[in-house]
Amino acid sequence: MNLTAMAAIYRVEMMRFFRTLAQSFISPVISTSLYFVVFGTAIGTRIDQVEGVSYGAFIVPGLIMLTVMTQSLSNASFGIYFPKFIGTIFELLSAPVNFLEIVIGFVGAAATKALFIGLVILATSAFFVDIRIQHPFAMIAFLVLTCVSFSLFGFIIGIWAKNFEQLQLIPLLVVTPLVFLGGSFYSITMLPPVWQTISLFNPVMYLISGFRWAFFGLADVPVGISLLAIAGFTAICLGLVWWIFRTGWRIRS
């Protein structure tokens, strides 16, 4: 392993994050606060409790997941798309590094940023609601796995994208709806039966359900299935990235 190279990529990617600290840090804090105001306060006054948990607290795991997923995607996709766009990717391709080292460097940095923001949101929400975490280790594990798998997915999008529009396409058109329909702000048991069945096909639902279980011990689907779903998603993304570097798809002619 070329650890030095991996560290170099990781450091440069993290530098980008610190350069834009105001954007990376303040904007999620503000948007989270807005969610609490709108969902927690306005809707929360009408929905008293969801399965014994106050509505304000109930949406915390969903909120964190929503931000972590979108942040992972945008950080990782931009991280690899930018060198492609400005041409500096040549250096990466000509360096004595293999695909795993490149991926660990880029995805590792993107996941770190997302994790950091996730924790910031958790801290922010503590100002609004009373939070208890029943299974802290599981909570961290779910959070890290989500950061890593969605950063991997973002990395793939960044390589696939040929322009800035495509870069935004999948996050906006696919991921955001899946996150919103995945029970970020409600329990799927609150839905009519037909929609409950449809929700079972939404992979994001399993992540949110598992994550919520770590907080409150209640879940829409068994936590083991959630864990399996996220492990499977990570494996698929990793396989795709491996294939991309083996064939040079969209990066090496």
């Binding site: 030095t4 990529i9 530098m15 000509s94 590094v97």
Partner: protein, 313 residues
């Protein structure tokens, strides 16, 4: 002597079907400066990109320092420094950070003394804290070179290093190349400035339409193909040449005011004495004589034109 870069029958066909390299074989010796000359689109950049790992060759093999570029890509690539033709730099990074990144990317331990030396050699030391986007075009190119030298490569590829740079930077660059050669670094540069090849290369390769037309010692090439021309300025203009001068292949130039005679300096007889005698016998009076030697450029243009003519036939 074993070649430090050994290219065997390298072919590259792009997805669109364009064949950029049609079987290039080339052995580059340790410590030499090789200039690859060729018109735009000849395949120079594709050749370099294939060696450096940016383009996947369709067939053929390349080894660098005895390491195959596919099976032992780490060892091969660690030896290579590449300065691309286009200026590709992370705009928001400072010079120092981007150079340090390159060194790390190539797996070298942090060595600020070496990086300082590289930046000083390239007159970049004062700019080390500047963002690359704030630099002039020439400075950016220097940064690219600094990045390529950051990990102490044994083989350096310079893809059109002096395209669009001013005279001062070009001279600096040549000086740098001399210094690197003294340190034993093998240098391969592509250019379409023939004077550049003439000034610094040991060997010259001419590439056109994906084929290597020739590779030769620069001096030998110049001597072998070095033709001279003799221009004879006449007292009175002529429109038709006398029959007695038909065998010389003379060319009437400047609207009949002068005749041009091409000859080979390597030939046993240049034929000049006889020509001058025949001119006098034909009654043509000479006012002035002037000789000039063909440059690499003319040789190169000649070769490419020959190639094109062959293709057309």
């Amino acid at each position: 002597m074993t070649a430090i870069v050994d290219i065997r029958d390298l072919k590259k066909t792009y997805d669109g079907g364009f064949q950029a390299l049609k079987g290039v074989s080339l052995q580059i010796e340790q410590g030499e400066i090789l200039a690859l000359l060729g018109p735009n689109g000849a395949g120079k950049t594709t050749l370099i990109s294939a060696i450096c790992g940016i383009v996947t060759p369709s067939s053929g093999s390349v080894s660098v320092g005895g390491h195959d570029i596919v099976t032992e890509f780490r060892a091969a690539r660690a030896m290579i420094g590449l300065v691309p033709q286009e200026i590709h730099l992370e705009p928001f990074e400072t010079v120092w950070r981007t150079v340090r990144y390159s060194r790390g990317l190539f797996g070298c331990k942090r060595d600020d003394t070496h990086l300082e030396q590289v930046l000083r050699d390239l007159s970049l030391w004062d700019k080390r804290h500047a963002r690359t986007m704030e630099l002039s075009g020439g400075m950016k190119r220097r940064v690219l070179i600094a990045k390529a030298l950051s990990h102490e490569p044994r083989v350096l590829f310079l893809d059109e290093p002096t395209a669009g740079v001013d005279v001062e930077l070009r001279r600096d660059m040549w000086k740098l190349v001399e210094g690197l050669r003294a340190a034993g670094v093998t240098i391969i540069l592509t250019t379409h400035y023939i004077e550049e090849a003439e000034a610094i290369a040991d060997r010259v390769g001419v590439i056109a339409k994906g084929e290597l037309l020739l590779v030769e010692e620069k001096d030998a090439l110049m001597a072998r193909m070095g033709r001279k021309t003799l221009e004879i300025e006449l007292q009175d203009p002529v429109t038709v040449l006398p029959d007695s001068l038909a065998g010389y292949g003379l060319e009437i130039v400047r609207e009949g005011a002068a005749l041009r005679y091409a000859y080979d300096t390597q030939a046993e007889r240049t034929g000049i004495t006889k020509l001058l005698a025949d001119l006098a016998a034909a009654g043509l009076q000479m006012r002035d004589l002037q000789t000039s030697q063909s440059s690499l450029e003319e040789i190169f243009v000649g070769l490419v034109a020959e190639r094109n003519a062959e293709d057309a036939a």
